[in-house]
Amino acid sequence: MQPFAEIKQVKKKVDEFHLGPVDLTIEPGTITALVGNNGSGKSTLLKLMMNLAAPDEGLINIFQKNVQGADENWKQQVAYQPQRQVGWDPFTGNALKDLISPLYPNWDEELFIEMISMLDVPLTKRYSKLSEGLQQKLTLALTVPRNAPLLLLDEPTTAMDIPSKKNLMDILAEWMDQGERAIIMASHQSENIMKLADYLYVLQSGKAIGHFEKEELLEGYKRYWFGSELPDTQIPGEVNRGTWQVISNQPALAEQFFREHQLPVANQAGLELEEVMTLLLTREDE
């Protein structure tokens, strides 16, 4: 199976901001979250993939086509949701649907109707009159039913309420099951939607921190509690220390250390994804 997208050694400089080098391959059947703080380069990377900006170095192929090539047919196979929609303000949801749906031969009207009713979006109000959350919902309902095999979503849920986020995750999971598809979505580290991802590509201030398979990452971190003060020595893999507790990203070595130094572990636990992200993104600051 050919990858849907290949990003090779891509670099981009925007004023003082440097993105990259980014290396990322997207296989069909996968959901990848681009995770990072504000200004980490997530949106820039999506724009580069859509050829809305040109990389200074490197190469991006989508469906085996160089995105900077003259042939732009690959765009038919990609549905992209930017953070802001330009020019949508004066139109109602109904009018926007009439403008957008004919452009996509695989437009799924049934899915559009389902999303509108599940997310409770009024179609007769002008886009500019909708709340930010409703604007996001309408945008999604006008993006996912395009049924392009590759879906690029730029922070799709930031202004949405919790039940709608859950509904959207159901919709996206079902959409993935309909064929050979892939999703790349930019997500803030605290967004629940990253839990839907299989892979996490973590960026900080333009620098790629890593490309992780979710469980591999989660299983690599453990928090240990002790019945007394810990020795001052650094524990193997120590990434964080609190009162009578320590977090290690090398659990096997840490546990061996505890045994050798006769430090009885009172309790241990895995970490939540959000916590691991925070550790990954703060550690690099130092």
Binding site: G29, T30, I31, M169, D170, A173, E174, M176, D177, K195, L196, A197, D198, Y199, E213, K214, E215, L218, E219, Q268, A269, G270, L271, E272, L273
Partner: protein, 129 residues
């Protein structure tokens, strides 16, 4: 469809193995009879907030061991499992629970006699219920 699977992030046991074991227990215990449809890899991944890579690994292992079957285009179903295999799953589940209990007791420096006494007491209480 929501399967009653509960994952522990705190366990030393890898997630794929937890899924595998709990599905086996549901099949051996009769809660999932032969022919029952299972959720797609993607839907189970969403429900458990786990990657498809991990779910696929669990499903592949279960398929290899004859607990489930995947039919192209139709989905994944519980297979006909021989009684001897169901029996084996139950026996190993009981052994594992008891082993864990005994380990806890040993960690608290209980003697074999004391452990036995606790075990007998629990048995008596359960019979009385």
């Amino acid at each position: 469809m929501h399967l009653p699977i509960r994952l522990s992030k705190d366990s030393r046991e890898p997630i794929y193995h937890q899924i595998e074991k709990q599905l086996k227990a549901l099949i051996a215990g009769g809660q999932l009879p032969a022919g029952s449809p299972l959720p797609s890899i993607r839907m189970l991944a969403k429900d458990l907030e786990i990657s498809v890579i991990t779910i696929r690994r669990a499903y592949q292992n279960l398929e290899y061991q004859g607990f489930i079957q995947t039919t192209q285009g139709k989905g994944t179903f519980v297979a006909e499992v021989e009684d001897s295999m169901k029996h084996q799953v139950k026996v190993s589940a009981v052994y594992e629970s008891l082993e864990q209990a005994v380990e806890t007791a040993i960690n608290y420096d209980y003697t074999p006699a004391q452990i036995n006494e606790i075990f007998q007491e629990i048995l008596r209480r359960k019979k009385g219920e």
